[in-house]
Symmetry: C2
């Protein structure tokens, strides 16, 4: 099978969607970075109970020190709240506040609109393959 090396493909497209989303959210008056939004959305679509910083870092495949800095900003803006896990005081459980949830609802709507525009013209099968490949790549990467 002919493999297109992923470097230039990733290199040329990875900023596209984030930039479109950020531009739109800036228009609406919200000046958060893309990763800040991702953290909020991870919490909105909670993958498991009692998400902690380490969980978010793993999901985003980012260094925990970066997640800490993002969480600091979002907490300062009262979009999330951090509480100590009473079962394990090393862990901070992170939840969206009401204000945070309002923002993630808004982001989600805009995200859907832009996603629809970008994917318009593709078949459902093609889009599903796209998601499957991404999910597969994430799994494979964890094994390497």
């Amino acid at each position: 099978m002919e493999i297109h090396p992923l470097g230039m493909i990733i290199g040329s497209m990875r900023g596209i969607f984030p930039r479109l989303m950020i531009a739109r959210m800036n228009e609406l008056g919200f000046h958060y970075t893309f990763d800040q939004w991702v953290v909020l959305m991870v919490l909105a679509f909670k993958k498991k109970q009692d998400m902690v910083q380490q969980d978010i870092a793993e999901f985003m495949n980012k260094d925990k020190s970066l997640v800490l800095r993002i969480v600091d900003v979002l907490e300062k803006d009262a979009l999330i709240a951090r509480t100590t896990d009473l079962n394990d005081r090393r862990r901070n459980i992170i939840n969206l506040t009401t204000k945070g949830r309002d923002l993630t609802n808004l982001f989600y709507k805009e995200e859907q609109l832009i996603s629809e525009k970008l994917l318009e013209g593709l078949t459902e099968e093609e889009v599903n393959s796209f998601y499957k490949v991404i999910s597969h790549v994430k799994s494979r990467a964890q094994e390497l």
Copy 2:
């Protein structure tokens, strides 16, 4: 059709491949950033004659001032050479040096290996759909 908003998908996977590639190239003794490699690879797989900084910036969907800084570093390391376009002296034509070409050949091999590992287990059809979606998204993004 059910659309998975692209935010968290992009947010969780965009750093995977770059990080794997950078780790591998660091092992081999090359300490360039991912975007520095992308610039080299863009020049190696020349999309057109007489690539200039603006062309690279457009391909990478990045600000021209970033491309300038990357080009400065690569020129300093003698991986590329910059010459003024005699037909239009605003433009700098950028070419790989022999040293630069050696490095891109090496990067390409490693890129192929890692890509193969990440895509192993997927059908050719699924991978082709993946590339098609990406190409499509890039085109659509330029229209928005």
